[in-house]
């Protein structure tokens, strides 16, 4: 693995990008908070940069809720980007308006996840597939009918289906109809949003094969969003791994699957059952759930669950379970900080009555109760819990970060005040990038740490 630092905007300098079709730069898509008081946006996509090359299939994987669908929708302007650029052959499409947007929409289409919901049941198949042609006033009505029939043929249905209704078709067939509609305008780029996840396993392969054939025939470029990794491995040329609105690792599929660089990729891959029992890597179990994207952690997005999180040297040898407890404590304090307690609850708390929040002491017992915590650590921890108990959450957090925080939590190792985030490191000759401090030569490699800690 090469360990020199690559620029955060990959491919911009030096690296020749022979035929880049889509260039995404620092793209952010935030949803405004629905509440009246809480106006923190949900950071669904929080600054991602990558390229999609002409004719390739780029996979986008991650747990549900990681922002992959939002990213796909932003690329075809179903969602408005909050910030950043999406360059399609050099044109920034995030700022297209009116007729330009309407014209551009021909080029980029989407296949939706749920075939039950993506076809309007009150229209015949013909009308459904034709609608894009009607909208774009494509040739004459008779031509459109012809085209629809040939499209139906193309996706493995028969022209007689023109006058049938979606109800009359199975899930796989409905997905074919959706694909025919997607192809109607001859797009160059198609976002496939988990196109087979709602289908029976038996038909998944058929649809995947169809998509591959169509790609070849029409020179299509795919962004394939999925959470089924085996499908991704089969169809994608390159894969981007997404977590909490960030791309953690992006690179050629085989390489990424056989030799993951990023801790999150490790974790994700270790969740697939291994066909090869002799594979050396141990199974890493991820604890907890991804954080709320409205309140992403400072520093590395994965820091709350990372199995190889960088620890301060003096605590490197603390028990893993104690570390888990510390992480849990941090999360709980963060939660308490943002939970808005009603006045009633404040009053109840004042008088020592029960509230819906467990007291911090209870929490402490739960987390560390039966662990052997070294004395000096225990002292710090009780300081922290005391502060939190007095609703000085800010102070408690600061104390916790000062003692147990590392560069992964955004603590600047050089003593700066601004929280630091990881950078993209180029981790192989193919230009694979990974978003993790572990690639910095100051820290040990991921693989060794995994072996160490497990």
């Amino acid at each position: 693995m090469s360990r020199h630092t690559a620029p955060t905007t990959p491919g911009d300098e030096g690296r020749p990008a022979p035929d880049t079709m889509v260039k995404v730069r620092d793209l952010k898509t935030y949803y405004e908070g629905g509440g009246l008081l809480d106006d923190r946006p949900v950071k669904a996509v929080d600054g991602v940069s990558f390229d999609i090359r002409r004719g390739e299939t780029l996979g986008l994987v991650g747990e549900s809720g990681c922002g992959k669908t939002t990213l796909g929708r932003t690329l075809i302007r179903l969602e408005e980007a909050t910030d950043g650029e999406v360059l399609f052959d050099g044109t920034d499409i995030t700022s297209l308006r009116g007729d330009q947007l309407y014209e551009w929409r021909r080029n980029a289409q989407m296949v939706f996840q749920d075939p039950d919901s993506s076809l309007n049941d009150r229209m015949t198949i013909g009308e459904i597939v034709r609608e894009p042609l009607d909208v774009h006033d494509w040739k004459t009505p008779a031509d459109r009918r012809e085209r629809v029939k040939s499209l139906l043929d193309e996706v493995g249905l028969s022209p007689e289906h023109y006058y049938r209704y979606p109800h009359q078709f199975s899930g796989g067939q409905r997905q074919r109809i959706g694909i025919a509609r997607t192809l109607a305008l001859n797009p160059e780029f198609i976002v496939l949003d988990e196109p087979v996840s709602a289908l029976d396993v038996s038909v998944q392969a058929e649809i995947i094969n169809l998509l591959e054939d169509l790609q070849e025939e029409f020179d299509l470029t795919y962004l394939f969003i999925a959470h089924d990794l085996s499908v991704v491995r089969h169809i994608c040329d390159r894969v981007a791994v997404m977590y909490l609105g960030n791309i953690m690792e992006i690179g050629p599929t085989e390489e990424l699957f056989t030799d993951p660089a990023n801790p999150y990729t490790h974790a994700l891959l270790s969740a697939i059952p291994k066909p090869d029992p002799t594979a050396s890597r141990d199974r890493i179990t991820l604890h907890g759930t991804p954080p709320n994207p409205r309140y992403p952690p400072t520093g590395c997005p994965f820091s709350t669950r990372c199995p190889v999180r960088i620890r301060p040297d003096e605590h490197e040898n603390l028990d893993d379970e104690v570390w888990e407890g510390i992480n849990g404590l941090r999360e709980i304090i963060r939660e308490r900080m943002r939970a808005d307690r009603s006045i009633r609850e404040r009053v109840r708390e004042r008088f020592g009555l029960e509230t819906r929040f467990a007291t911090i002491d209870e929490t402490y017992d739960e987390l560390f109760g039966d662990l052997a915590v070294p004395d000096e650590v225990d002292r710090v921890l009780s300081e922290i819990t005391d502060a939190a108990g007095d609703h000085e959450e800010r102070e408690a957090l600061d104390r916790l970060n000062a003692e147990f925080g590392s560069v992964c939590d955004g603590v600047d190792p050089d003593g700066g005040d601004e929280p630091v985030e990881p950078e993209y490191y180029e981790v192989s000759d193919s230009g694979r990038l990974s978003y993790c401090h572990r690639h910095d030569e100051r820290y040990r490699e991921t693989a060794t740490v995994i072996d160490d800690r497990s």
Binding site: R73, I76, R77, L78, G98, D99, L101, Y102, R105, R106, A108, Q109, M110, F112, Q113, D114, S117, S118, L119, N120, D121, R122, M123, T124, E127, R130, E131, P132, D134, V135, H136, P141, R144, R145, L157, S158, H161, Y162, Y163, R164, Y165, H167, Q168, F169, S170, Q173, G178, R181, A184, L185
Partner: protein, 580 residues
């Protein structure tokens, strides 16, 4: 009513398959011809009434247009009163332009693009849409101005007058199978026995029964003809061999409770439409102008004498002491199939014309309210955000005022001011408008969930992804799904409107005499329920209960019919349809 839903979906298929449909008919014209011949035959039988109906439709359209046309000037006058005449003129013009523009938005889509090209402008797609609307607005305003401010207007109204006059003359001279002229049932006994002036010399009761029977036979035939039309289209001309609507129809046909509701509603509507035919005496004579209409009867001393309705009515009251019950003649040889009212007028006539009143009010109120509700629910669920919040606030504000109180308040204000809108139906139209205003928030609320749900469907996203316009997306991809729901709530609410109208009239607030109304009948008869004249309040009471139940049953049945989940063999349909 049930055509609304199919209309909205049928409309989608037409623009392009239009030619195909015509071709298909040309290839196989016989079924279509037979069906059209049926239509011609039916129309011919009732040709007089058809023209009368056309005349009435003209009247309604004329009234609406006049009312709308008076809006800009009245706005202008109000402004002129405070800001001077120049401002008044501007206000008139602005109001007129805005109203014209509002008309063009839904219409512009179906006008060919050619008109816009005249200007030779290079416009964007959006620009073209707006240009088209602007041009249409211009044309409309120009035409309206021409009619309002130039001699053309005079010629125009003369033309309209001539057409209306012609239609009315036709209506009067052409025969109808159910007309009073063909089957008269008003006559008098002869001293030597038998009847004079009735159909074939039969008794008035028999003649009336024949005529009423004919009316229902005719209406039933018309219904069968409609059903045949659907069937013919389905078997001979439709390209799809199955549509979701087939299932809806099938489910409805197997729902006996719904069919019962439909039957009652059908009776009610037929009674309202053919009110002149099913009433034994003419409403004009018996109810509206009893002073000026005389008729003959065989008096007790065996002579044929003549008297006015007003006098005869006085003697025929059902007021506890005196009773003309159902299925009897009064002392003046007048047949009263449902007896008389407490004021001596004919109950059947009241009931049928009252059905007309209720139906007009119900349909106007629900139609208008549903329109507002659907448009707002489409807009608020498509755009969400601010549009949604504004709609929520507007509807909450209206709902915060108790509906009945609001209705009473507004109706009293307008009636006291003798506003022109309070004239038609003696306050009926006013009531309908107020109901529409008071009930749209409820309807909007009840379809809000479904419309939000449908706006979240991926096919709406898909439409957006290939650049479909918001208006078309709402019309094609959202409205058809809401149509079913609004039908359900509409038919449930129509019962509420009918009963509220009756209740208000019962309280003396809703519809003023002489327009017949069921609530007033109940009011008039309530004190005699325990006497011989029990029928005065009981008959309209039962009628109202039946109609309201029927509309509810219909609404329930529609709900079950459009809900595919209610169907067990849906999977079967999918299995037979797929296969390939």
């Amino acid at each position: 009513m049930s055509t609304t839903q199919s209309d909205s979906t049928d409309g989608l298929e037409e623009p392009d398959d239009d030619k195909l449909f015509r071709d298909r008919v040309r290839e196989n014209p016989r079924p279509a011809m037979a069906w059209l011949a049926g239509l011609a035959f039916l129309l011919l039988l009732e040709i007089g009434r058809v023209f009368a109906g056309v005349g009435q439709a003209f009247g309604i359209v004329g009234f609406t247009v006049e009312l709308l046309a008076s809006v800009p000037t009245s706005v202008g006058d109000n402004v002129a009163g405070t800001l001077g005449s120049a401002a008044g003129f501007v206000a008139t013009a602005v109001t007129a332009v805005l109203m014209a523009f509002a008309v063009t938005v839904p219409v512009a889509g179906s006008v060919p693009d050619g008109a816009v090209d005249v200007l030779g402008l290079d416009l964007s797609r959006r620009g073209r849409r707006w240009a088209k609307r602007a041009e249409l607005t211009f044309v409309l305003v120009a035409a309206a101005g021409l009619v309002a401010y130039t001699p053309v207007g005079g010629a125009f109204s003369a033309l309209i007058g001539a057409i209306t006059g012609g239609v009315d003359a036709l209506a009067a001279s052409l025969p109808s199978i159910t007309s009073r002229d063909l089957i008269p049932n008003t006559g008098h006994r002869l001293p030597e026995g038998g009847w004079e002036g009735t159909f074939l010399g039969l008794s008035p009761a028999t003649a009336w029964a024949i005529r009423t029977g004919l009316v229902f036979a005719y209406a039933t035939t018309a219904l069968v003809w409609l059903w045949r039309g659907f069937d013919v289209y389905r078997t001979h001309y439709r390209l799809a061999d199955w549509t979701p609507r087939d299932d809806t129809v099938r489910r409805f046909r197997n729902n006996y409770w719904g069919l019962f509701g439909f039957a009652i509603v059908f009776l009610f509507v037929v009674m309202a439409l053919w009110a002149p035919a099913v009433s034994p005496v003419e409403a004009q004579h018996n109810i509206y102008e009893p002073n000026s209409h005389e008729f003959q009867y065989l008096s007790e001393d065996g002579e044929v004498t003549s008297t006015t309705h007003v006098f005869a009515n006085l003697q025929s009251r059902s007021d506890g002491q005196n009773t003309i019950g159902p299925m009897s003649y009064d002392d003046y040889d007048r047949w009263a199939p449902l007896g008389t009212t407490n004021r001596g007028q004919d109950m059947m006539t009241h009931l049928s014309y009252g059905a007309r009143t209720s139906l007009v009010i119900g349909l106007t109120a629900i139609g208008l309210g549903a329109l507002i509700a659907v448009v707002l629910s489409l807009l608020s669920s498509y755009y969400k955000g601010v549009t949604d919040i504004v709609t929520v606030m507007a509807s909450d504000t209206i709902q915060a005022v108790p509906a009945l109180l609001l209705i009473m308040l507004v109706s009293v204000v307008f009636q006291e001011a003798n506003h022109p809108i309070a004239q038609p139906l003696d306050g009926g139209l006013l009531l309908a408008l107020i109901f529409a205003f008071a009930y749209w928030p409820g309807m909007w609320r009840s379809i809000r969930g479904p419309s939000l749900q449908v706006s979240e469907q991926e096919w709406v996203d898909a439409a957006k992804s290939y650049g479909q316009t918001p208006l078309q997306t709402m019309r094609k991809h959202m409205a058809p799904y809401i149509a079913g729901y609004i039908l359900i709530y509409g038919s449930l609410l129509i019962g509420a409107v009918i009963i509220s109208t009756a209740a208000l009239t019962f309280l003396g607030l809703g519809i003023n005499p002489p327009t017949p109304e069921w609530g007033r009948l109940i009011d008039g008869g309530q004190s005699y329920v325990a006497t011989d004249s029990w029928h005065v309040a009981t008959i309209p009471g039962i009628a109202i209960v039946l109609v309201v139940i029927a509309f509810n049953a219909l609404g329930d049945a529609i709900r079950d019919a459009i809900d595919p989940e209610a169907d067990v063999d849906e999977s079967e349909a999918a299995a037979t349809g797929g296969g390939a």
